[in-house]
Symmetry: C2
Amino acid sequence: MPAPNALYAQSGGVTAVINTTARGLIEAVRRHPARLGRLYAGRDGILGVLEERLIDTGRLGAEDLALLGDLPGGVFGSCRYKLRSPEERPELYARLLDVFAAHRIGYFFYNGGGDSQDTAQKVAAYAAARGYPLVVLGIPKTIDNDLPETDCSPGYGSVARYVAVSTWEAARDVASMASSSTRVFILEVMGRHAGWIAAAAGLVHRRAEDPPHLILFPERPFVEETFLAAVRRTVASYGHCVIVASEGVRDKSGRFLAEAGGRDAFGHTQLGGVAPRLSALVQDKLGFKCHAAVADYLQRAARHLASRTDLELARAVGRDAVRYALLGRHAEMVTIERLSDRPYRWRTGTVPLERVANRERLLPEAFIRADGFGITAAARRHLAPFVAGDAPPHTVDGLPPPVRLPLVAVRRRLEPFTAPR
Amino acid sequence: MPAPNALYAQSGGVTAVINTTARGLIEAVRRHPARLGRLYAGRDGILGVLEERLIDTGRLGAEDLALLGDLPGGVFGSCRYKLRSPEERPELYARLLDVFAAHRIGYFFYNGGGDSQDTAQKVAAYAAARGYPLVVLGIPKTIDNDLPETDCSPGYGSVARYVAVSTWEAARDVASMASSSTRVFILEVMGRHAGWIAAAAGLVHRRAEDPPHLILFPERPFVEETFLAAVRRTVASYGHCVIVASEGVRDKSGRFLAEAGGRDAFGHTQLGGVAPRLSALVQDKLGFKCHAAVADYLQRAARHLASRTDLELARAVGRDAVRYALLGRHAEMVTIERLSDRPYRWRTGTVPLERVANRERLLPEAFIRADGFGITAAARRHLAPFVAGDAPPHTVDGLPPPVRLPLVAVRRRLEPFTAPR
């Protein structure tokens, strides 16, 4: 009897380094042909699994795999799709097992954040209950860095580096023009619930006068008067003020600042945006000329600024997911365990999925400065390793070269099925 | 009699490479001690000259000069300050000559865009009329690339590279999630009057399916129906649509889209923003989930993505400004002359200031695709050299190191003076 096949799928928001995790996993699978057969990837994550849209990773050659490491986004596609419980949607779980059986899948590697680890756990439990032999391993990934039980989540280090470098660069621009132009600059970054991304900007704040002068965390309620007073004080001291604001900043009543909008003069939906809102506030209340940047997907796609550490972690969790699966681990997620801060030493480990599923790790209180507008020395010690190291992607004439990858579909064996959206 | 001193000032919006121009100039001045005495820099551009806030560049050592090349923004400060004509404000011109005389300035190097070249010309004319011996050289700088008579303006190549790379990266992210999440992504870039910056995104559009699918230029009036039809068509063909929009996009009546705002639910000023406006439009009219990024200062400060070509050009115009001054050129601006496209070969030249002052070079018609949403092959040929070459700045643990530069003030010799703001 030939070795069982394996299935890999990406889930949720993509990162600058998730394809490096895929690469690590693919290379590891290939080292064990006697125990692992083909490795398929779900097109668009779990959606492609449900709909039997699978990609045969065996068609990717060594050069293709090396190229994967240079590509942000999810090369096989990912999805935002909440797989409800087997009690609510038994037909979806039955379908998953049908697809697994049709393609002789014995290993399921699911690469995502907290929701995805929950899905992985449900799939594992369902397969066990039906007597289907399936090894399930979760692989961490999220720029939000809010997965518990792991030192960090691959993807975070690169967005952290992007935010720190961009803040530093824009701040030098603002500082050089502030005497006659923009006094206040606001960079809006991701992080709906946890302030990990915003906190990373604090890594370039070495002296009191260094940017960012103010960081706004979702973990701390936004108080307009305190904020405006801090801006006024900073401008008085340094001539300008650089602010990094998490998209998840909320007021005391828990309402997102970004949602305080409404409709514009034309009756169009006024899209949220913390930075434009803060910018209008500063301009109206303090009279300072203000500029705002919204990094949006630029931050999580910025492979050109990915940290080498993050790439190494991303590759390791893919590679070791295979190793742990072959060691008999099951219904666990691969983790990063820190051994020392400086130099940063780490190893992978695993943790039962039930200990990560649907749990969110916020920024610890000890990482937020007493005034609520910056990070502590403990935070710097913890975060600094994640952004370390250059690992520029290959460029041709200064630009990313054209991408041509053999993403070949696996022949379908089942009736068509459309997952409910 | 000792050699006359020289004065350098930066003007207008700063760039990722203007400090490299300063470096080229400082190094060139030092090679001619018999003909050029001290080199001073105006703190905050012409404002610092008027207010006798000068920096002695002689205190910068070789290591400091090398560091200059890694720093975005203007290291001596720049300003947004429109120096009115000598007829309107004779006292300002008289003050400039007082400062020049007090510090024995015989050479004035002014580094800026179209307005600045106009100022340089006025200063030259005024000095001549008063019999003050002054050699004036303009040095080009503007991310907008709208200076005439030069192949490009240093600063442009780096923002062009930033926009092209960022578009490509974010587009890979969007493409990988589009089947269940964001369908349309909009990146707003600078360029109030000219579409050079937006056009650069077109460099990564190699095949029909490649991003950006639509570029919106200030040179072409925005027509809502045509735009929405193009977005709908693109999503139908490729599943997603990536748009790069210049901040200067205007409707048929000439009104900036970014100014179509008003006040929000709280009566606060609704800051403009082409991307949020287009995003609301797409969401309301087409129902596609849409994301928008506003790069703002991030784009012009992105030294980490500066092109090597741009850095070389920036250094050359600084260096050769000194060379031309010593050759007896006066009231001219240094230019870049293209000798060949591929490989890109160039040399510097000069042009009378009167031929550049207050003239704006828009994107040529021949560079805009017939449908108005992309660039032509001629544009690609012209633009490609500017973004070529990696030149990453020095980092420590993945981040820009702390900056400590000896920016030492020159002792004042005149009564205090405050320039009218």
